[in-house]
């Protein structure tokens, strides 16, 4: 009958005596040896290459002292001017009054005003320039990357696919996506790098009338913050600087009279998001060893099963007289 399948014409299996080792055995042996190796490699990855977060060579940052801020919002206006962004006048069509960070607003002044009339405070929110940023860890094609020297986190439009994972991965909810238009961008503070290149300071720190936000090398800012804490005992919340170790360390540092979480700065702890959550992901896939070994194992098993399956298919073909379906 014509339905005798020509497609399932199997090559006769090589007998053991033909060759020293069949392909199948070779793969099987690799799998047998490889599995322990891969497991060892994965678990030992921590020791083999330290999962350290690379610290930039000369990190720059901001120190914002909420107790000095008067809420004049000059920094908001200066930021728009420095970055050549139109102001966000969506609220009344006339005045720049954004309610949150967005495509037009790279930094914003918000007010914490408790209902019971206790101490209120302004807070300036912008990119924290973390040492181990969640946005950089999550970005699939490294459109968000951290400068090795200044530590500033930049966005590269040529690589971004607009997946918005950075908006989810950032614990401070900083990167903002442009929801209108055909060429949407991700906007966030980049510490006015274009101004730094010209020897100028970032827009916000250049105009702050009371010096609530200042710019400088992170080490110097940290020293200054600690000096302020020492000279003003009891003034600052918990006598500590937010960002010194929070989220693995950030380059934007905060001092405040009121609790940090009231200002929208979450209590994350000293481990950064990526290091605490992607640890196993990194280990399992390191050098792609485990996947490769798994693949070899799968091939071996499937070949064995395929052999049996084909025999059954042949049998059925003979019984039914119909062409076997693979």
């Amino acid at each position: 009958m014509r339905n005798e399948s020509k497609t399932l014409a199997l090559k006769p299996r090589r007998k053991r005596t033909d060759v020293a080792i069949t392909r199948r055995e070779l793969i099987t042996n690799i799998a047998k040896a490889g599995v322990p190796a891969a497991v060892g490699l994965t678990v030992g990855a921590e020791m083999l290459h330290a999962e350290e977060v690379p610290i930039p060579s000369a990190p720059l940052g901001l120190l914002y002292d909420a107790s000095l801020c008067i809420g004049c919002k000059a920094c908001e206006a200066a930021c728009n001017e420095a970055n050549n962004t139109p102001p966000d006048t969506s609220r009344d069509g006339l005045h720049q009054a954004p309610t949150d960070l967005n495509v037009f607003t790279r930094n914003i002044i918000k007010l914490y005003k408790p209902e019971d009339g206790s101490q209120s405070s302004f807070v300036k929110r912008q990119c924290m320039q973390c040492f181990d940023p969640g946005c950089v860890a999550g970005c699939p094609f490294e459109a968000l990357y951290k400068d090795q020297d200044s530590g500033v986190v930049h966005w590269d439009g040529d690589k971004c696919i607009g997946c918005r994972y950075c908006t989810i991965a950032c614990p401070y909810s900083v990167p903002r996506f442009q929801w209108l238009g055909l060429d949407p961008v991700i906007t966030k503070c980049e510490l006015c790098s274009h101004r730094l290149a010209k020897g100028l300071k970032p827009g916000c720190t250049s105009v702050c009338p009371v010096g609530a936000v200042i710019f400088g090398p992170r080490t110097a800012l940290l020293l200054e913050a600690k000096r302020r804490i020492k000279n003003n005992p009891g003034r600052y919340y918990q006598d500590r600087v937010y960002g010194e170790t929070d989220n693995g360390g950030t380059q934007a540092l905060y001092l405040s009279r009121v609790p940090f979480d009231k200002l929208g700065l979450p209590d994350i702890g000293p481990e950064s998001g990526p290091s605490s959550t992607l640890r196993w992901q990194k280990r399992i896939y390191s050098y792609f060893a485990l996947p490769a070994v798994l693949y070899a194992a799968l091939v071996t098993v499937i070949r064995r099963n395929q052999h049996g399956h084909e025999q059954e298919a042949h049998q059925q073909e003979k019984e039914t007289g119909l062409r076997a379906q693979i």
């Binding site: 014509r2 339905n3 020509k6 497609t7 399932l8 960070l101 967005n102 969640g134 860890a137 999550g138 970005c139 699939p140 094609f141 490294e142 459109a143 439009g157 040529d158 690589k159 971004c160 696919i161 607009g162 997946c163 918005r164 994972y165 989810i168 614990p171 909810s173 996506f177 442009q178 929801w179 209108l180 238009g181 055909l182 949407p184 994350i268 998001g273 990526p274 605490s276 959550t277 992607l278 196993w280 992901q281 990194k282 896939y285 996947p291 693949y295 799968l298 091939v299 499937i302 070949r303 099963n305 395929q306 049996g308 399956h309 059954e312 039914t320 119909l322 062409r323 379906q325 693979i326």
Partner: protein
């Protein structure tokens, strides 16, 4: 064989042969593609096409309910995270069949492969609509630019590679088969292609199990970076593992459940043994999964939050109930031998699994005290439209190609059906009576 010989109730010796034993995939014949339901699906698909053009024209903001705090809408969190998992039958059923040697499940493979192909294709197309700067996706071709630690990179790259290479190759055999029947002149080419496929079969199929294992788990790893913003009832380092587990039992529900439904609707015999095997496997996956999940909750000290009167606790209990009760119904169906119980078991556990996979991305995601998200009408219509496209294509494919399993007798019934209708009057072209020669015995034989 006398038609009076029927499946005896269990316990009666000797066990009667399974009259409905699925041995072969047979196209759905005698049923027109064009009916009201199909037109509804096509209508929804066309509507979503127009709305997609609108989304491309104005941007994501007006076309969806996504906002600065909820950057991901149902296109990603449902059509990709949930529906591709539900449609990952090629992975779960395939592994059960090819790696664990459950031979009876081979008859379900073509259904599994087709549903997977459509779920992934529709999900990935919608993903292309969802991203804001798709023209930069070409970076996927340059591995040295990948951020290998990013779960998002893993998902995007792995799913694209999987859908376009192994899954597509696995879906070719039914098409080749039909081409073989279609024209004698094509047969040498078809046979050569089939031979090539056969030769590389283990390598393709192993890849087809490795890659989904990687990306279905990475879909879970995505929300790991959500950190404290995902409710503790869901946020766990085991999220990738639990996601793969959920994908497994959900996809069994899809494949077995959809096969049952198709057999019911198009009046095809149902092979109890295959379904019972599938149900057994699914139930055990479900219970293992529930144990792992709840132990994890217990050891992380998060289980007590399930007893707080919050909406998150409610979602957790609904999930757990649906999955657990679904699994119990599946086991129950093995005892009471009722298809209804089995169908409900698959449905409930699938819906529970969908809810589980959906929750950490949206329902249990808390980016801020006053931030909420609900999809807009356009967003919903596009999501529904893409899913409808998948279903519509499925309906066409099962009628064009041999996908749905059936006893061998069904193949002969099909031949007789087409013989009766004469040459040129059928459009499956499995049999060209009187033109290229008879290939099937006639009734008089």
């Amino acid at each position: 064989m006398s038609t009076a010989t029927l499946t005896n109730p269990p316990g009666i010796f000797p066990p009667a042969p399974n009259q409905n034993r699925w041995e072969r995939a047979v196209p759905v014949y005698g049923v027109s593609v064009f009916n009201k339901f199909f037109f509804l699906l096509v209508g929804l698909a066309i509507l979503s096409g127009f709305l997609t053009i609108y989304r491309e024209a104005v941007g994501l903001g007006p076309a969806s309910g996504m906002n600065d705090k909820f950057g991901w809408g149902i296109w990603k969190t449902f059509n990709v995270v949930v529906l591709t998992a539900w449609g990952s039958g090629a992975f779960a059923v395939g592994i059960a069949a090819w790696v664990f040697g459950r031979k009876r499940l081979h008859t379900l493979m073509r259904m599994a492969l087709l549903t997977s192909m459509l779920a992934y294709a529709c999900g990935l197309c919608l993903l292309g609509v969802d991203v804001g700067r798709p023209w930069n996706f070409y970076w996927v071709l340059f591995p040295w630019n990948w951020n290998v630690h990013s779960p998002m990179a893993e998902v995007a790259i792995c799913m694209s590679v999987y859908a376009s290479i192994p899954l597509a190759l696995e879906n070719i055999p039914p098409i080749l088969e039909r081409l073989w029947h279609f024209d004698v002149r094509l047969q040498p080419v078809v046979e050569k292609l089939e031979h090539a496929l056969h030769k590389f079969f283990p390598f393709i199929v192993a890849l087809a199990y490795l890659l989904p294992g990687m990306h279905q788990s990475s879909l879970g790893a995505l929300m790991l970076l959500g950190g404290q913003r995902v409710h503790p009832l869901w946020q766990t380092p085991f999220l990738p593992l639990l996601y793969v587990g959920a994908a497994s039992f959900m996809s069994f529900g899809c494949v077995a459940g959809v096969t049952m439904l198709c057999c019911l609707v198009w009046k095809r015999p149902i092979d109890r043994d295959v379904l019972e095997e599938a149900a057994r496997i699914t139930a055990w996956i479900i219970f293992a999964w529930l144990v792992i999940r709840n132990l994890d909750l217990l050891f992380r000290g998060a289980l007590f939050t399930a007893f707080h009167p919050t909406e998150y606790a409610l979602i957790f209990w609904i999930e757990t109930f649906l999955i657990g009760y679904g699994g119990w119904l599946l086991l129950q169906s093995l005892k009471d031998r009722k298809l209804r119980t089995m169908f409900l078991g698959y449905t409930l556990s699938s819906v529970g699994g969908m809810l589980y996979r959906f929750s950490p991305t949206t329902l249990a995601y808390m980016p801020g005290p006053k931030a909420t998200y609900f999809p807009s009408v356009i967003e919903l219509l596009i999501a529904i439209g893409f899913a409808s496209t998948g279903i519509a294509i499925f309906l066409v494919m099962v009628k064009l190609f041999a996908i749905l399993p059936a006893p061998v007798q069904e193949w002969h019934n099909m031949a007789l059906y087409f013989r009766a209708r004469g040459p040129y009057s059928n459009w499956t072209k499995y049999f060209n009576f009187g033109f290229f020669g008879d290939t099937e015995p006639t009734e008089s034989d």
